[in-house]
Amino acid sequence: MKLLKPTWVNHNGKPIFSVDIHPDGTKFATGGQGQDSGKVVIWNMSPVLQEDDEKDENVPKMLCQMDNHLACVNCVRWSNGGMYLASGGDDKLIMVWKRATYIGPSTVFGSGGKLANVEQWRCVSILRSHSGDVMDVAWSPHDAWLASCSVDNTVVIWNAVKFPEILATLRGHSGLVKGLTWDPVGKYIASQADDRSLKVWRTLDWQLETSITKPFDEKFNPKIFKKKQKNGSSAKPSCPYCCCAVGSKDRSLSVWLTCLKRPLVVIHELFDKSIMDISWTLNGLGILVCSMDGSVAFLDFSQDELGDPLSEEEKSRIHQSTYGKSLAIMTEAQLSTAVIENPEMLQYQRRQQQLDRQGPTARDAGPAARDTGSASSVAGVVNGESLEDIRKNLLKKQVETRTADGRRRITPLCIAQLDTGDFSTAFFNSIPLSGSLAGPMLSSHSGPQLLPLDPGTPIPFSSSKPSTEPAAGTRPVGDAASKDGVNTATAPTTPSPSVLTTPSKIEPMKAFDSRFTERSKATPGTPALASTTPTAAERLREQSLVKELRPRDVLESSSDSDEKAPAAKPSSLPKRKLELEGEAVEKKKKGRPRKDARLLPMSLSMQSPAALTAEKDTVCVSVPAPALKLPMPGPQRAFTLQVSSDPSMYIEVENEVTAGGGLKLSRLKCSREGKEWETVLPGRILTAAGSGDVVCVACEKRMLSVFSACGRRLLPPILLPSPISTLHCTGPYVMALTAAATLSVWDVHRQEVVVKEESLHSILAGSNMTVSQVLLTQHGIPVMNLSDGKAYCFSPSLSAWNLVSDKQDSLAQCADFRSSLPPQDAMLCSGPLAIVQGRASTSGRQAARLFSVPHVVQQETTLAYLESQVAAALTLRSSHEYRHWLLLYARYLVNEGFEYRLREICKDLLGPVHTSTGSQWESTVVGLRKRDLLKELLPVIGQNLRFQRLFTECQEQLDLLRDK
């Protein structure tokens, strides 16, 4: 046995509470106390294992450190796949980390640049539930669950596929829960607590299986950290035995073999303080031990000492005979008894296994030293422009706008996107880097009238400063320091002489110390509430701030309802809309115009005029309102509108431009990427919309004009059946929603109608219902989001309204298809359906709550839900989403073993193999080739050996078709 204490593994002398070796053995993590925070550090393993690497300065020792925990970190654990690291600490939080590969090394700003992070580990989830310190975390064998335990006496099971969803909270311990472990097949989880009991819970229903209290004798050793190792077998053909290492508070470490009655080895005096955690290496021959004294030791055993480990198969056989098969986890091992009938299938299964094995290593565990080079080179270039070039012109290029209340707003330049795939990418917000950056971008609310203050001049700070409190609170420290001039420990900074020429200047600098560390008390110019310290003075100020804000709201809302007065139900309808749009209004006030032209909140067309028209005209629209249902845009002199998601394209409208001789015209200006065009119209322009292809405006007298992207008129004015309510463009499609609640969609390129004056009466059945959002897909399909949470699209081919989303849909709430979600792109599907349905995250949560629902019911609801999703995506002609949901549906069918439906899908996708003239079969669906879809489905089908005949059939026929 060799023993090594790598001194470079430390937390600057602070205690290390946990250590865990990455499953691929290339790195390990430590967790413990940091400077004023908890600390997690990821270290390179090779300098521990090889002396050469330890001496080689090019081999990094520390790979990444994370100071994000607010208090001491008690445990760090790698997921079995090695993709994630979970850490739990005294701050009651569990953080889940994932490696981000998009960027090169970084330093911790303000730390003097010494600590370069070779690898970038990002916190992808923060799990909050525990009300006390988190003591231990453990990943289930299949990485689908993460368990955590805490001093709040509970164990929480998290859905690792869908953080931060909680699957179960296990209550029953009467003392703090100190440790957790899963059985090797994931059928049980054991928790050990201060109440001198060990409880075993079933993963099937998360109920208590058994509670073991007898053998507990914790008199001298309250902290036993045990780590079961893999089964090893002795050289002689005897029983397999386990190897177990025990570290204890008496600072000794002992390694036990279950075949021996006394420990294999006991090491005393290895550390100055208690042993806190132990982690075995991959081959089972080495252990890392960490201690409260802040050091780490590595023990390396030889095979002679521990015996030969069993192979994985032998191990899993023992596991299965001991624990049985887990019902909750479907592993391929269970199917291993099935006979594989054809070589294709065999090959596929083998490939799959190989992939699974290579997967984690290839993806995220490459040797650190090697991939830093490539990563940094990636980071250095953005869209072909080097970072240096970008920086040179950043000030000129960066987009700066004014918000509605006149504040400066800068759109930051995105220099790297996160690639971890766990984030729902901001499809509408992120600013594309290339080209368009130079173009100007105007906020759609750039009205100069409402400027409350001019940010160009310094703001007098005294406006909202609390009177005496800060002077009394913070000054004395500085004053005292500056007066006596004694070097106190609070001023560790020695400024460089280049700046500070006279030594006398150093003394007053101490006076600034509090300025660096204390939050500013004066926060004028903030519409939001500054609420840092709950002192009376602050409270007072906040209250006054709130009071200040309120009148403005009233003003806005009242002018708002004025605007809507022409609408049919002046009292109830606008009020309700106001409530609905509460959020939108607030966003706007904070200076965030909504940019997503694809999903246009009605509030934009209604309220932005309201906010703008301080110089509102007295002239009203002279159109009589016959049984109006929808609100109309009010008249206004001028407005600006951002078009599509392209920030550089916007439309400006100026009404009542005097053209001489008493004539009044309206001017329409459109700017795209710096190129402008302009045209005039005879009537007053009420509303405008644009897409990448067309620009359209609705004028008074129900006229709708359409222009090409370059300003050429495409059609003579279209006479609308009633005044316009909302106008919208996507691609070549123009959608007009009139105040009489009729909807029309035209394809202006083909000059034909897509939807002809379709009434919304059928979907706006209830009297209180309004359209809350409208959407026009790329294929010209209009979608109406209603205030009751339902969304309908109008299918031109069926000439009918189809329900595509319902927020109260009980199917969506009961459906549970998490097991079928592909791990990576679970959240990544975007498109009209996703927009309409909003965040789908609630479904799983509900499903977890309804755990008691019989499996059959859940199956049925899930199937029904998935089918409706596939159908909705099809109706919306969203190919991307159709594919996503179809694959998900198929995967669910495969997992649950529904052969008939699966077969029907395959049959339709395959079509007739031998061409027959009478066939009605279409080879494509929403622009996707059906047979390509089938090819994608095949690997999914192949996952379940039960469907191997179907797999073979499809495979053979596809081959046949290919050969033809």
Partner: protein, 202 residues
């Protein structure tokens, strides 16, 4: 955990004449798209003696902020000399860059600033009334002092979810009058507001 971490602040055009604008190139990283804008401020400390002489040179909103690394240049006019006590015009002071989210300050970057006459004559015999046009401003860029504060980032989210779980007929939004006092009355946000300082300095 902070959703936004500042990666770097580069001080541009330093040293420079007193009257030229401040320019900081700020790089930051956001690990989750932010629902609202960040607010950045440059505060010039006019005098060590009292916070009363602080000048907020400018404040900007920065957004939208999707997940990823971002940078921008924050430019602000030089401080107003008439608001600086004459005795503090020459010498060392501090400029602070702060960032707030939902009105909560979560990072404060401070630099020492030295204002000095360029010409040796003026340096020897400084005029009684400071001549700001002759002053050169030098920011000690190599030594930023960074203080991070723990704030509640999820205020909004918690609320949204709370709304979702309510009766869905009400769940579409809140009455307008409630919106500006977001979070104030919620006890859930109070713990997040306790300053848990962590200071990273040399």
């Amino acid at each position: 955990m902070a959703k936004v971490s500042v990666l770097n602040v580069a001080v541009l055009e330093n040293p420079s004449p007193f009257h030229s604008p401040f320019r900081f190139e700020i790089s930051f990283e956001c690990n989750e798209a932010l629902a609202d804008d960040l607010e950045w401020k440059i505060i010039y400390v006019g005098s060590a003696e009292s916070e009363e002489f602080d000048q907020i040179l400018d404040s900007v909103l920065v957004g939208p902020v999707p997940a990823g690394r971002h940078m921008f240049v924050f430019q602000a006019d030089a401080p107003n000399p008439s608001l600086i006590p004459e005795t503090d015009a020459v010498g060392v002071t501090v400029v602070l860059i702060t960032c707030t989210y939902h009105g909560q300050e979560f990072i404060r970057v401070g630099y020492y600033v030295n204002n000095e006459y360029l010409s040796p004559e003026l340096r020897e015999n400084p005029p009684l009334k400071p001549d700001f046009s002759q002053l050169q401003r030098n920011i000690l860029a190599s030594n930023p002092r960074v203080t991070r504060f723990h704030i509640n980032w999820d205020n909004n989210m918690d609320r949204l979810e709370a709304i979702e779980n309510q009766d869905s007929s009400l769940g579409c939004g809140l009455p307008l009058s409630c919106t500006p006092i977001k979070g104030l009355g919620l006890p859930s946000c109070i713990p997040g507001l306790l300053p848990e300082n962590s200071m990273d300095c040399i």
